[in-house]
Subunit: 402 residues, 3 copies
């Protein structure tokens, strides 16, 4: 891409961003469905602008000093590095809050800690997806503490809480997915009428979070897509999110339907997203046992679930199944890492043949996450992010060298 | 605050700093009482200048590259983030030295390691407060190794060792407290004749460090305050520090007295600082057992101490006790986190009612720590810190955005 | 040193660098012997330039944003801080990849992870020295994954993989050693005909990596030195590296010989480098047992090796042995930390007397490592590193203050 073309593309994105009312300034990014479509489109525009500048070697350092804090209550490599990359691209120093204790803190402890770590903070990224009913609630507790601290003059700035995966939603993932779709199909408008199959798939592991499929069905119906959800009996997602998906479909003129097999979901689909998750009822029970410290019951529950899981080994995304999709060429998507049959496990979510065909596309899909996070930081922390990005473009400072 | 007012305030602070002979350049900050009052006032002036610039959105980045190293031999969240914030505000990259082994290293190991980590370092913050007789000694060993390395041309710069809490003193805490007092009462001069009650308080935990109360009695008598120390029998502080407190009181025309009850200490006090700690004799015994790896004796000692502790549950800062203070409105202070009765524990150092009344004030008290640490870094690392800060003010580079 | 002298020295180094064809741009630095002497001299020239600028207070920040990733599969303090220092000196944010699991990942896991962490990365430093046959192979797997990711547009830049110690070579150490020798003897040319004794030495520990002695014999014979290797029977180094050492000696007109005693090796030596290591056959067996998870056999192997080790306690670098070296004044070298008899262990690699005499020289030897790493980063990541360094020199921006 020539520098001139890049500059024109970025200018067009910033012109779009100018005209959006995102409502994100001095706020957080916790759930896509509580945000306006302007907010979502704003994140995509800013993310793509930052990505193009990075690609073009233009510095996007908008902070001279300051912290980007992260708190991972679940192991993470990909999201950790996406967050670290976003922090670095904007000029923030990463500081990880390491909770040694697994106990779930509330009240004054959260309120006080949130303030004590935030004197120089611009963002607090939190992953807390293991306990149903906990993650999103915890993020809101942190958010309220920061509101108070800022209003009372304890904090010089109001850092943005960014949901890096909660029990309910995974917005940095779903917006990376949406940006991938926008780039693949040319525009958000072009997604209208496209069919996407969001389906459960078999994995030998246990207890994968619900936030990825919920993030998808809570987001994509807003764009007039035909979203089809499929999973074995008993693998339900949270009822509230399912309801939200239906409401969005109705508003947008798209559709949200549930079917009972992968085959049916894949039929003539433009996009497929097969992915393992645990039933929400199991996650609820698990949270209760964890709270009670009931390790015998936890073990029994895990055994029960793995046995149940094993009944659905045929929920695998194979080349045969892919033949039933639109022209046999649906776009395969995955948040990574996928459980690939014969590669990362004996039998898993996707056959080696299908995965290898789309492998680099899934890498591209993942590559947008650092920019989505950086965009959320910018939209939450700056009143006029388009102006800031335009200044960066005009200054044209090299990111590396001279 | 208007930009103009802020600029005038900072200029006045820097004018004050100009006229102080801190003696800190190319040295460390280990104990307040081995430093001059000029050094202490210099830290406060620089800290408040940096804080005001941060508040006004002015960049305080004085390092283009370089490391701020930290070594925490005890768990820490608040001080860790205060140090990380200070490093970021000045432009240093944080690098944490993680000692896997609990053994206490000495000699060539310390000497060599101190040099090997410091080739690009500007500061080394150390928390080592668990073993009486060890922490301060360790810091001095590191300091001597750095002196040699710098003199012999091994190190291009002489990083400053900053005491982030030792067995003896906790200067970043006590100077944050002092800055809080200076801002609350208007000036250091106004502290003359004010009565502060530094008292033990009950906590269900065991072995809290002595460095917080010692830091207070070793500092505040220098300012003509009436410092009253109270604790149950057997909860003595280090005799050397107690003696130092008396000497300072005599020099300044203030007073240092010890009483036997919280009630007496609180009587007509302007400020109260109730806080749990372990007796120094117990800490000494504990260190001996730890060195000997004598875990049975350690357990027995802990049980004995907890039993003794439990005799003094009535040492709690309650609303009733607060009534006895000056106009019933003494300033309550705490280094956080406090053990709050009915909130963070069944019964603790302070009642929920008292804590809630002063909660935000304790947050403000804590908010100065990042700036105190940054100020120590600047005074130890720059010959003319006021000139550097004045240049920052003049350059007026935005900390965020453009 | 005057600023003028420093500037002239740096200019001369950059003039030398201009005329070298290092071939490192967009590549990795894994083994010295697969790189040209131009590449090696280029690293030394760039390292010394960066060091002189650091010493002179000139900023070497060439990256405005971006990550320097590290992955330590073995504990490390010295190299960790050398890498952190290099990252900071060039302006990169350090991000450590923390592998919880000890299992050795391959295939899609490596390929995917390498890409997922690298969207904003400029370098990936890897230490993987514990398992013979694994470390170098792993680094090449990462390297190939990065090649693919960059070619396919997944990655905006191709980060450089930098070997921070593999099972085969330890180039950041051996090039620091070489820079120490160049500075001590005046030039690489002056090393011609100098005798260096690379010898095994007794240590009470077990399983020290082979990469240090291999790094030395694989590098120094290229400079016409007389390299003498000595170790007890059964402590062989990898045959391929030994062969390479002989080939280089032949090409350069130097020599590579093996003798059976420390005494013989030290005879009239200009330099001695006594250091413990484990036999490669043992390391191979160990790797096989580790792969098989055979902990009983691992324990037995360790006992056997320690017993064998104990037969060679007389392989200690003593003052008496040093008398046999050139004028009794050979340069003693060590990669640190050394096992010092009566200091860090009862009996070890070197007597306290000899070590203390050369202690500060070993600190200086180690002090070049951060600059060697920074130089590798610059040569691998910039097409014209001399131009970049010349711009830094000309810009003359203070690294600290104003």
């Amino acid at each position: 891409m020539s520098d001139h073309t890049r500059e024109e593309l970025i200018s067009a994105l910033l012109f779009s961003l100018d005209n959006l009312d995102t409502g994100l300034y001095n706020r957080d990014f916790l759930l896509t469905w509580e945000n306006s479509t302007d907010a979502i489109e704003g994140v995509l525009d800013a993310a793509e602008s930052i990505r193009l500048m990075m690609e073009g070697g233009i510095s996007t350092r908008v902070f001279d000093t300051g912290l980007a804090i992260s708190l991972f209550r679940d192991q993470s490599t990909r999201t950790r590095f996406a967050y670290a990359s976003a922090a670095s691209l904007l000029g923030l120093s990463l500081s990880e809050l390491d909770e040694k204790k697994t106990q779930i803190a509330h009240g004054e402890t959260v309120r006080e800690t949130a303030n004590m770590i935030s004197f120089a903070a611009e963002s607090i990224g939190i992953r807390d997806d293991m306990y149903l009913g906990e993650g999103d609630a915890f993020m809101r507790e942190v958010s309220e503490a920061l509101d108070e601290g800022y209003q009372e003059g304890v904090l010089p700035n109001r850092p943005a809480v960014i949901n890096l995966q909660s029990d309910i939603d995974h917005p940095t993932q779903s917006l990376s997915d949406l940006l991938h779709l926008r780039k693949t199909f040319g525009s958000l408008e072009n997604l209208k009428g496209k069919k996407i199959a969001v389906t459960w798939a078999y994995s030998p592991s246990y207890g994968k979070p619900l936030s990825v499929p919920q993030g998808l069905i809570g987001l994509l119906p807003r764009y007039g897509m035909d979203v089809v959800l499929a999973h074995p009996e008993g693998y339900d997602l949270l009822p509230d999110v399912v309801k939200q998906a239906g409401d969005f479909a109705e508003e947008s003129g798209g559709s949200f339907t549930q079917v009972a097999s992968m085959e049916e979901a894949f039929a003539n689909a433009d996009i497929v997203y097969p992915k393992s998750w645990a039933p929400y009822q199991v996650m609820e029970q698990r949270t209760a046992y964890l709270r009670g410290g009931d390790s015998d019951k936890l073990d029994a529950l895990e055994q029960e679930c793995l046995a149940k899981n094993a009944q659905f080994k045929n929920w695998e995304c194979t080349a045969d199944l892919m033949k039933g999709t639109k022209d046999g060429e649906a776009l395969y998507m995955h948040c990574l890492p996928a459980d690939i049959s014969g590669v990362s496990c004996e039998q898993g979510e996707v056959s080696a043949e299908v995965f290898e065909k789309y492998r680099l596309k899934t890498y591209h899909e993942a590559s947008y996450k650092p920019y989505v996070i950086a965009a959320m930081m910018m939209l939450c922390r700056f009143e006029k992010p388009a102006d800031i990005l335009r200044s960066l473009l005009k200054e044209n400072k090299p990111r590396r060298g001279f």
